[in-house]
């Protein structure tokens, strides 16, 4: 995959799914990334898996990301792999924290089942159409989504000589 190939993929997606489906493309450090609109993620991936002339049949990873100062904050990355052409492409979408809803791709790639649950657990992105949208790693009654950047780190203050005066009553 090179920058030209990425543009060709983007154009085919625009033709196959809709003019507004692709937001932007970037080719950075030999990684091709196709940013798509959140509502059309499933359609884009379906197009790239089934109808594109260069099909991407394998979802090697699905993960979330929080770009805190930037808006919209949350990103969901789909890393596609073609075993035949030994090629990879990233499909990425950005949603805000106010309404983080993205269509599920579980019916296209069954591996997305647990990975979407993990993204929901850690970032609070709700995948619409997922059959079992609940936490996977944290306890069911856990509050908040711990991988968001504005989530407190947690843990306990560790006592060192530089902060022992700031932690009152540590001695008893």
């Amino acid at each position: 995959m090179d920058a030209t190939g990425l543009e060709l993929v983007a154009q085919r997606v625009r033709d196959g799914v809709g003019e507004n489906s692709v937001v932007s493309t970037s080719f950075f450090r030999r990684q091709a990334t196709l940013e798509v609109a959140p509502a059309s993620v499933r359609d884009v991936l379906e197009h790239m898996r089934d109808r594109d002339e260069e099909p991407w049949e394998f979802l090697s990873s699905l993960h979330g990301c929080d770009y805190l100062p930037d808006e919209p904050r949350l990103g969901i990355h789909y890393q596609l792999l073609s075993m035949e052409r030994l090629d990879r492409i990233n499909v990425k979408t950005r949603v805000g924290v106010e309404e983080p809803v993205v269509p599920s791709v579980m019916d296209l790639y069954p591996t997305a089942n647990h990975q979407e649950r993990e993204v929901y657990d850690m970032f609070g992105v709700v995948f619409e159409g997922h059959p079992d949208m609940r936490r996977i790693l944290m306890p069911e009654d856990y509050e908040g989504h711990p991988q968001r950047r504005d989530f407190p780190i947690g843990g306990e203050p560790v006592l060192f000589t530089y902060n022992e005066k700031k932690l009152p009553n540590w001695y008893g």
Binding site: M138, P139, F151, P152, G154, G155, E156
Partner: protein, 200 residues
């Protein structure tokens, strides 16, 4: 050869004496001598604790990398924990006496461990193995419980990341001393600091 023969003879004599005693043939001074020679007197609780400390069966239960080290201690002939009577791993909490918390305790795992502990029958003991189990170690984040003593009572803490097998065995020996009632004072002994214990 001569020594062996003598030993055999004395065993024969002892066997014959035991037979006589069981038949009720021994009387008077002979019986006194027999009792002095054969019977050990102790308190019931001492005998009970002696039996308990020499058959502490750990629960087959591991959490993280410390568990690998724990398996080396419990399961391997190199370290041979059967010297201290703690090598029989029980895979049900109903039959186990000792819970070794071996590794970091996540927020999700803590209730499970507490339930295992509750299912164990009294008397039961807990060893917190390694830095993570005792204080969350190098982690300080949302996912871990900082110290397993927050949700169950711990008898012995073994430091290390992970502890050496000798360290865990030392911890088990310390626990045995605790069970048999002649607990050593640890560092207090060295610094003559008896009487400074915080918890009686």
């Amino acid at each position: 050869m001569e020594v062996k023969r003598q030993k055999l003879d004395s065993m024969k004599v002892r066997g014959a004496r035991a037979q006589q005693m069981l038949r009720g043939d021994l009387e008077g001074e002979d019986l006194e001598a027999y009792v002095e020679e054969r019977v050990l007197l102790t308190k019931f609780h001492d005998a009970q604790n002696w039996a308990r400390k020499n058959a502490m069966w750990p629960l087959g239960f591991g959490l993280a990398c410390c568990a690998i080290e724990m398996i080396t201690v419990i399961g391997s002939p190199r370290n041979d924990l059967s010297r201290f009577g703690a090598e029989v791993i029980r895979f049900t909490p109903r039959q186990a006496d000792m819970l070794i918390i071996s590794g970091r305790v996540s927020v999700k795992m803590a209730p499970v461990i507490r339930r295992l502990y509750d299912q164990m029958l009294e008397p039961k003991w807990v060893i917190s193995m390694g830095a993570c189990a005792s204080s969350a170690g190098m982690f300080n984040n949302y996912a871990l419980v900082a110290g397993c003593d927050k949700f169950l009572p711990v008898d012995v803490y073994v430091p290390g990341c992970p502890p050496r097998p000798e360290a865990l065995m030392y911890g088990i020996i310390k626990l045995q001393e605790k069970v048999s009632g002649d607990e050593s004072l640890g560092w207090r002994e060295r610094y003559q600091a008896e009487g400074t214990e915080e918890v009686a």
